[in-house]
Symmetry: D2
Subunit: 312 residues, 4 copies
Amino acid sequence: MDATPGRPSNQELMLEEILSDALNQPVSGEVANYIPALAMVNPNHCGIAIATLDGEVHTAGDADIPFSIQSVSKIFGLVLAMGRMGDDLWHRVHMEPSGHAFNSIVQLEWEHGIPRNPFINAGAIVVADTLTSHYSASKAAMVNFVRSLANKDDIHINQDVYQSEKIHGNRNAALAYLMKSFANIESEVEDVLDHYFFQCSIEMSCRNLARSLGFLANRGMQPGTGDQICTRRDAHRVNAILSTSGMYDQSGEFAFTVGLPAKSGVGGGIVAVVPNYGVICAWSPRLNQFGNSCLGMSMITRLAEKLGLSVY
Amino acid sequence: MDATPGRPSNQELMLEEILSDALNQPVSGEVANYIPALAMVNPNHCGIAIATLDGEVHTAGDADIPFSIQSVSKIFGLVLAMGRMGDDLWHRVHMEPSGHAFNSIVQLEWEHGIPRNPFINAGAIVVADTLTSHYSASKAAMVNFVRSLANKDDIHINQDVYQSEKIHGNRNAALAYLMKSFANIESEVEDVLDHYFFQCSIEMSCRNLARSLGFLANRGMQPGTGDQICTRRDAHRVNAILSTSGMYDQSGEFAFTVGLPAKSGVGGGIVAVVPNYGVICAWSPRLNQFGNSCLGMSMITRLAEKLGLSVY
Amino acid sequence: MDATPGRPSNQELMLEEILSDALNQPVSGEVANYIPALAMVNPNHCGIAIATLDGEVHTAGDADIPFSIQSVSKIFGLVLAMGRMGDDLWHRVHMEPSGHAFNSIVQLEWEHGIPRNPFINAGAIVVADTLTSHYSASKAAMVNFVRSLANKDDIHINQDVYQSEKIHGNRNAALAYLMKSFANIESEVEDVLDHYFFQCSIEMSCRNLARSLGFLANRGMQPGTGDQICTRRDAHRVNAILSTSGMYDQSGEFAFTVGLPAKSGVGGGIVAVVPNYGVICAWSPRLNQFGNSCLGMSMITRLAEKLGLSVY
Amino acid sequence: MDATPGRPSNQELMLEEILSDALNQPVSGEVANYIPALAMVNPNHCGIAIATLDGEVHTAGDADIPFSIQSVSKIFGLVLAMGRMGDDLWHRVHMEPSGHAFNSIVQLEWEHGIPRNPFINAGAIVVADTLTSHYSASKAAMVNFVRSLANKDDIHINQDVYQSEKIHGNRNAALAYLMKSFANIESEVEDVLDHYFFQCSIEMSCRNLARSLGFLANRGMQPGTGDQICTRRDAHRVNAILSTSGMYDQSGEFAFTVGLPAKSGVGGGIVAVVPNYGVICAWSPRLNQFGNSCLGMSMITRLAEKLGLSVY
């Protein structure tokens, strides 16, 4: 059940204030432009949503406009693969932070094709490979999983983004072929990348993203439905990897200043898990040098400070 | 006040069981042998202590035998420097996880002599430099700080370890000179390393280490004395960096399996902070391939599972 | 014209002695086994040929048995591309030695997809791309070029090796896609790799390889035919790159002990250019740790010492 | 005996023309400024000398003004150490090109403290260590060796440069301590660096540098005196390493365009060995991005083209 319409809750007043502060900041950052379909988004969008464990969702701003979730989809892929593969998954991808981006490829080579963690591209491609191998129709399985988590049928991929990713995917192809040379990709590279680009192209709103990930804040049980999406132990584990590796090369700083498990995407979305409380999702397309949404970072930082949300 | 002598508490019964399980495991790991003084320790020592926020300390095994705290001292150095330098410190050392150890030196060069975080050697050496520059007698300041935190006067350094570290410190000298070439070391390298090796040579027992770090679990306030050692914000920050970077290249796995801010040292000690609950310290000299105590890891893992301590 | 049959020349007596010494050495090294088709070769083959500028060819041992020339083909590809592209080629591939193999991929990334030189795989793949783009049928152009250089029509590729290379080419695909992500591959990666694997699969004998490369020792003019294959300047340039980068990570040692421009392949062949004198080709399938033929190295080293061939 | 004064030789007319062409080029490059003593040199100096095997020296421009030979001194150190240590030297330093400068430190770590070759700083520091260990007064031995080679007593070090190097030598200290941590430095780091900075501070003119290295072009025998400075084999070997590694990260390009063994220094000097002909030395202080003298490069390139000097 969402928050009562008509009368803003205290949380919504706070969200509105935080949104308003964010919009009053000097404009900074750039919209992702490595593919044309992403570059065309209106850079001024800004929204935020909190889904709490009681099933309520509080929002402010553009919280109901779908955006390209991009790397946030790595959470969905990981949770789906953990459920299918169990602990065997961790022989094919590690769970260590990856350090600076510049050495991602040499690190992959140095560690014999085993990626550092499932939230760097190489790791998410291995996860995609396990799904491609497991399901006869992994893309359908993926979108159905997301729809069931969000309890919404009208979640779709953006075809322009999907096609665009495939055309500009040479670096990801390089990672996949390098891992295949170490026998850490089982399916055809083309199929694995097709799945990977598909899941990156899913579009969701702040409201739906926050709702869909509630189970991570609730020991694996989805707040709205009571479904046990994953074990309590696996919810802790996903949050742990998010904490050390979810925010690109700003993960340490995010832990330092905010102190919440979180994942960002180059579409400008950020989700942050507050154990035993709920899930925050912020969205604004302009990105800082690390690929994280500028206003998304500042809204979540502010909210965490106000509510004292740090897990540490 | 420590736990009532004579009658074991429930916690102590649990600690005894965990200790007993650990001692029944097949022996594995090797005592650190890069310096003779460390290699001579009895490898069969094993102890554990929990200092809770009510001021009690529960222990099992060799919890009162002092051991070389080594890299655990990096916490003391960091907290002391944060108090003296404020946020200027973060211009000289970052707060990001460092990835694989093999590239630590090239990463330092790549990032112009700014270490990734204060818990890798390069970062702790920068912290030592700030203390050497700030204090006319930084070694005395350091040991006094530790004594006051532990509320014990009989905390000392091991002279054999101290001298031994200085003789075998060529790699740390290489790091220090490289940072000095980037103007990120202010004092003489010799003085900075002297301070650094001094603090690594402090000896403390599990009991005293757990007690001394209680403020990190208590929003900066030392449980026994009520002293505000650091701000609540800085306690969160130290815990955040411990979570991403405290356990060498096993930090991600420790977050994944245990889910607590923690720091290990090659003397075999591990401290883990449980926010709003207390501090655990385990000690056993045999180390795994990452430099973390084998039995220390398994005792803390077991304890965290039993008590459901993960922050995630 | 080849050496007079029936009566061994002085050179042939010397070659026979060198061959005999090589065959009396303790067996060492391993046949390349990354693809089955290469692993099946008889490891005991051993042959040597010298083609001098007067058109004579002196041989000993298995000098007339065709073998897989593998990376020696990079010379043919380079010379063909230099003739077609002129100095524009050097905007797409550098001419510097590459240092240790382990960092080849990070170096490629660091230098924005421009390979260090045309004799590492990445560089040869760029060269193959220029040929694929230039010729409507680059594979036919390649084999025709080699046949005309050797003045022999019966030079063919080994179909088993060719198919085998394609199946095991994931690492080369990774390099190609990484370069394509930097816009340094123009054609489709699949087509470029097809050309590359095709040229690696050419089979030639020591006699024919030595004859075919005579122009490099003769200021660009082919000794037998008088054809100007490349400019004098380009012959010097190819020899220069061979000298610094032709023998994998043993190039420096080869310059140090032998002092001749040379190129090896994992089929066990080595060609060495002696400016103003001729071309040596040695073949024996067992490879040392660097991928260079064990007996090939020792025969050429011995010959260079006896005749005082070092260019330095 | 030097060229007859009063009447310019044909060679001198050619050198004058080459010098004049160089001086007419647009000014480019920057004087080395990492130490003040080097930065103060007049940037407009330009000179060239050729010492041929008949004992004559032809010059043009500022060929008699002493300059800081810097890394050219690595040749003297290497030849002296090869004579004292024999082939044992090559267990402590390799002979392979080093690839891109950026990874020099990680490469040193990766290869367990054995530098790639004696012409990178780490390699020259190991060579300095062998001299420091062998001689009770290695600095005096060094300067005496150079004086005897040049057959001149008035060769000195520049005290300002020497002191300046010591103050700005933190990066070299980092390399030395890293190698000491791998037990590849025997003497005290301070003493080794003192020797190293001393030899870098030797000042010589083009004329004297060219004369002093004649033995490298003459199979080890010094042209003027007939002294056998090293074996023929070792002269070839030094030239081989110069060819692959003497011109920093422009070594491959120098081989490609010039084709001569050569060594440069950040004082602006370059020496090039022409086997069986003589030694060229050019000097001009402005350096290109690789640390090689801009006008020195262009004068030697021109000269090599005119006389057809490439060894390839």
